[in-house]
């Protein structure tokens, strides 16, 4: 029990160090670049051509730096009881009657200030799987931005695109597709 705890403290410290270089932004626009760039841990400042002021400098695979992804740093909270938010076909617009589920996820983060959250985006099996990857990322990003409007620290939210690779219902019916077009809220601590 002690070892994971120590790791998570180190991880949190690293994460804050990573965020210290974050460019201030108003964080309100959808996909606002300035609010999101620069927060990643695996930016390699020793890489040739690294310019911390260049928004194009991103995170490259560096085994020593790690990815900064929550899966690598925190333990998954399995019983949070947050329901998936369902989307309509080929759309990343948040349906008004589904917003309560995003509100509940935001409330969870407000109630558990030490927790972080991955928002998983998913698609149904129709459509090319490459496009579905991007579509599911876009879905997760829309939900993220909705939750950020609660004043949640952007560093506590990550998106994860799953495309059509992890359906909630393995069936091939309209009902299965409806359940598979979703964003899932997965807290970590």
């Amino acid at each position: 029990m002690r070892i994971p705890l120590c790791l998570s403290i180190v991880a949190a410290g690293l994460f804050l160090a990573g965020c210290a270089t974050k460019t201030p932004g108003d964080g309100t626009a959808y996909g606002d670049d300035a609010s999101l760039a620069g927060g990643d841990l695996s930016v390699d400042p020793n890489a040739a051509g690294y310019d911390p002021n260049d928004p194009n400098v991103g995170a490259f695979a560096d085994p020593a730096a790690g990815t900064g992804n929550f899966e690598d740093r925190y333990a998954r909270v399995s019983d949070a009881g947050l329901e998936p938010l369902l989307f309509t076909f080929d759309s990343y617009t948040l349906p008004p009657d589904e917003l309560a589920k995003a509100d509940a996820a935001a409330q969870y983060l407000l109630n558990n200030p030490q927790h972080v959250m991955i928002i998983e985006g998913h698609c149904d099996e129709r459509g090319s799987n490459e496009y579905n990857l991007s579509l599911s990322e876009q879905r997760a990003g829309g939900v993220r931005d909705y939750i950020l409007a609660y004043g949640i620290d952007p560093a506590r939210l990550q998106t994860r695109a799953f495309g059509e690779e992890k359906p909630a219902d393995p069936g091939h019916t309209e009902e299965a597709y409806r359940l598979n077009r979703r964003a899932e809220f997965v807290p970590y601590k």
């Binding site: 626009a29 959808y30 996909g31 606002d32 670049d33 609010s35 999101l36 760039a37 927060g39 990643d40 695996s42 390699d44 890489a47 040739a48 051509g49 690294y50 928004p55 194009n56 400098v57 991103g58 995170a59 490259f60 695979a61 085994p63 990815t67 900064g68 992804n69 899966e71 690598d72 080929d90 990343y92 459509g127 090319s128 799987n129 490459e130 496009y131 990857l133 991007s134 579509l135 990322e137 876009q138 990003g141 990550q158 998106t159 994860r160 695109a161 799953f162 495309g163 690779e165 992890k166 359906p167 909630a168 393995p170 091939h172």
Partner: protein
């Protein structure tokens, strides 16, 4: 690009004796009667390995699409002997009007003999047509073998020769894998895997099977496609600046150039032009996924497809862009001239069949796809030449796996 297209046209012109229209390949006709006739009737094959050699050569020449293979008299004549039970003594000659070349080789094993047959087939195609052969090319594809209890797909990459031989497993991920693409030299495969639990871009060495992580940005990292003109430039789809956008990475300096800026839209599936100057990609900025073309140097962008609910999975070859399109039916494979746009579209598959994930062969004529019949997805090869060969299944991909996302080596 133009050079390849002219060669393609030139050959058809010489065969079709003046029926050629001065238009791109999508209007070109390849008819059975116009092909060169080729005979293997003068080849004596003895021993198991000798017969394997002869059968491999025959299959390669038939699959090339450039010949009508017969055992009678023909324009192109292959004669001589291939003999051996293990080692193969190859003593052949290839003759066609006014020209000939000899093929004298010794193979140490039946498998080496098979590779020699592929080499000879490509040599015959090159010498008699001026075209690049496909007999030494390979496929990489995704095999979905099951699902985990939490619903996540269990997938790995497999390699095989273009005729289905030497099927071998490339990865040991057991996790979703998307979009394998070859490096131009055929030594590496770029792909997106969830092997670490999240989507990241990896490169596999096809000889050693060693895998290294290329990019794992926050959010989505996918779509890695090396430029055919410059292996240090890799197109990527990344979302670390907010939402999925198209980038080009200069690998040595690790610098990114962002080519799209669409906060309310998702980009996917980059495909380089053969000269490495433009990229075709998918964007849903219009409300549905459509094909766009961006000039890498100027970032000038235009929409390529105008009709259809979905136009996705482009691959750009010397004779145009192949892609999957959904126009009220299952996905069909279509071909579009990048300079002429929607009006030039020609469908390569029928209305009610489901084909996806097209990838050009190195000859710029054949296309490998994944075809779904019932609930079984298998690898199928198309001939993009008008009135070319019927689609065929290069190997009997059995049940027990779904065969997806094939890519043909360049």
């Amino acid at each position: 690009m133009m050079k390849g297209m002219r060669r393609f046209l030139g050959l058809i012109a010489s065969l079709a004796a003046g029926t050629l229209l001065a238009t791109p390949v999508i209007d070109v006709t390849v008819e059975g009667v116009a092909r060169q006739s080729l005979t293997l009737g003068g080849v004596t094959a003895t021993g198991g390995a000798g017969r394997t050699f002869a059968a491999t050569l025959r299959n390669d020449l038939a699959r090339s699409g450039w010949y009508r293979v017969t055992d009678g008299s023909a324009q192109v004549r292959v004669t001589g002997s291939v003999a051996g039970e293990g080692p193969v003594a190859e003593n052949l000659a290839v003759a066609w009007p006014g020209k000939r070349f000899a093929w004298a080789r010794q193979a140490g094993s039946a498998e080496q003999g098979r590779r020699h047959a592929h080499e000879l087939a490509d040599a015959i195609v090159r010498e008699t047509t001026g075209e690049r052969g496909i007999a030494q090319s390979r496929f990489v594809m995704v095999a979905k073998t099951g699902t985990r209890r939490d619903g996540q797909a269990i997938e790995d990459l497999y390699l095989c020769d273009y005729d289905g031989h030497n099927l071998t497993r490339l990865t040991n991920d057991g996790a979703p894998i998307v979009g394998p693409r070859w490096s131009q030299d055929g030594r590496s495969v770029y792909f997106t895997s969830y092997r670490d639990g999240y989507p990241a871009v990896y490169v596999a060495d096809t000889a050693t099977k060693a895998v290294r992580k290329l990019a794992a940005f926050r959010g989505l990292s996918t779509g890695a496609t090396p430029s055919p003109a410059d292996p240090t430039k890799v197109a990527l789809i990344l979302s670390h600046q907010g939402n999925p956008e198209l980038y080009v990475m200069d690998v040595p300096s690790k610098r990114l150039t962002r080519l799209t800026e669409t906060k309310l839209a998702a980009e996917a599936s980059p495909a380089w032009s053969p000269d490495g100057k433009r990229i075709c990609y998918v964007s849903d900025r219009s409300g549905s996924p459509q094909l766009y073309v961006v000039d890498v140097a100027t970032k000038a962008t235009r929409r390529l497809t105008l009709k259809g609910g979905e136009n996705v999975q482009p691959d750009w070859g010397p004779n145009g862009i192949v892609f999957a399109t959904k126009r009220g039916c299952p996905y069909r494979i279509a071909l579009i001239d990048p300079d002429k746009g929607e009006a030039s579209i020609r469908f390569l598959t029928p209305v009610n069949d489901q084909y996806e994930s097209p990838s050009w062969a190195p000859d710029g004529r054949h296309v490998v796809t994944s075809r779904t019949q019932g609930r079984q997805a298998s690898i199928w090869v198309l001939d993009a030449a008008e009135r070319g060969d019927a689609p065929y299944k290069p190997f009997s991909s059995g049940a027990g796996a779904q065969w997806l996302n094939p890519a043909w080596s360049k």
